[in-house]
Point group: C2
DNA sequence: CGGCACTTTGATCGTGGTCAATAAGTGTGG
DNA sequence: CCACACTTATTGACCACGATCAAAGTGCCG
């Protein structure tokens, strides 16, 4: 991990103002969307810009949770390691998302970069101080927290009730939606994850993920685009099998 | 649902002060734990006490999310209904928990009482006003939100990686822990849920839940106590199969 | 007592996990 | 540039866990 110094990174990472922060993925969905510029400036001074290499740990499960990270550009995943060695992923996170908020003193899960990742690190204590001076910031963070809770609950339902096919379809679409939201148009989506990564997210084995993706390809719903990317050719069909519309084929 | 009038219900529902609110389940884990009495008083005036019968809906998926509920006594469950009729439960909630917080204008899931349920209803708008006057209240609610997120993530891992046996064991223990936390001692736990309810929570069918509970009983880990309650005889054994310690038996 | 909802247990089936072999990439050093 | 090692992906064969279908059994309330 490389610290590049605190060059108003939160503004770069978070701002939602038109005109500023051109290349920033978090422009429209960032933590500080809808915050006043003066607050942003103050917030950004408290943070520090950091860069992670692919597969590098952002923080580990069990470590002291004294800092949170605002993702700027790139993809990360949150993982939980079980005592017996089994591992599950709790979700992927992208530019604009905040990771590392913990109700306990220690991280109950780990975070890892999937791609090259630029983020902004800020101390919990500094954040608490900022909350006191700027309640709007806390409201915004709380909004993000309830939103994250809602999407996690959606995921829960998917794991409880969806077939392998439905889960993979839902995954592809959620990936697409997250990419669109960040302002990257076009039908091609970089997975930035191995079959094993996807399997850990969806509660499937890598073989099942591979088989299911092959099935979609054979049906003409997707097309491989380079090594780690897919093009979604038929979102309608994917959506139909993804969101609980399809009684698993009678 | 019966409105009983606003007799400082939030204090009853939430307070963590010794001496007050004797019979209240939420005494130790409530929303307002660690809040000053004067704030509590003001908060409580904004709320309204409501009572639900077993199986009565607290709110429905898709309804306008203009109020939140602080549970006082009893058990509720949050459920998600899929377009094709499948249903899944996202979690059970008890005295001291808050339900109904939504990032959107509409509830993305429904809530239903499992037992007789006493709660305190408060408008989102009133809550926002209170946040402005008492940032400590917002901090407390945010803390609850991150905690809820963490437990939901634990559940996610359980669904992704645990066998049926592990899930049921984890469910029994989480029920026990929730009950202990609310200050009800003793080894007997009222499920307050049918096999079907439990199955919807754990992503299993009611038959599998029943079979697994029978298995535990035969092993001497549990003992039925009345019709809808169990006594946990061997928590060690349950915990061992619950928390990812047991490679599913080689 | 009858009716009804819930539970238990059994028999069978199918999805997805497991084990295994091959293929396709990717990076390193001669 | 190719040989080699190594990781990741694909596909196949088989098997087990849990779903499904079915039928008693149990408890509760009118």
């Amino acid at each position: 991990m490389t610290a590049l110094g605190a060059v108003r990174p939160l503004i770069d990472a978070l701002c939602a103002r038109p005109g500023s922060c051109e290349g920033c993925e978090a422009r429209r969905t960032g933590v500080c969307a809808s915050l006043a510029p003066d607050i942003l400036a103050e917030v950004s001074d408290a943070g520090e810009r950091v860069v992670f290499a692919p597969r590098e740990a952002i923080f580990r499960q069990g470590e002291r949770a004294s800092q949170i990270y605002i993702l700027h550009n790139g993809t990360a995943r949150l993982t939980k390691l079980l005592p017996d060695g089994r591992q599950a992923s709790v979700g992927f996170r992208f530019g604009g998302d905040a990771v590392g908020l913990s109700p306990e003193a220690e991280h109950h899960l780990g975070a890892e970069a999937l791609t090259e990742l630029v983020a902004c690190r800020i101390n919990q204590d500094d954040l608490s101080n900022l909350f006191q001076r700027h309640p709007a910031l806390q409201s915004r963070l709380m909004q993000l927290c309830t939103r994250e809770l809602a999407t996690t609950q959606e995921q829960l339902v998917a794991l409880a009730r969806f077939s392998a096919e439905e889960r993979v379809a839902a995954f592809l679409l959620s990936l697409a939606e997250a990419r669109d939201r960040r302002g990257h148009p076009g039908p091609v989506y970089d997975l930035a994850a191995t079959r094993a990564d996807i399997g850990e997210l969806l509660g499937l084995t890598l073989e099942t993920v591979s088989r299911t993706l092959s099935k979609f390809r054979r049906r003409g719903w997707t097309r491989p685009a380079g090594s780690h990317a897919v093009e979604l050719l038929d979102r309608k069909a994917l959506a139909h099998s993804a969101f609980g519309h399809a009684p698993p084929c009678p």
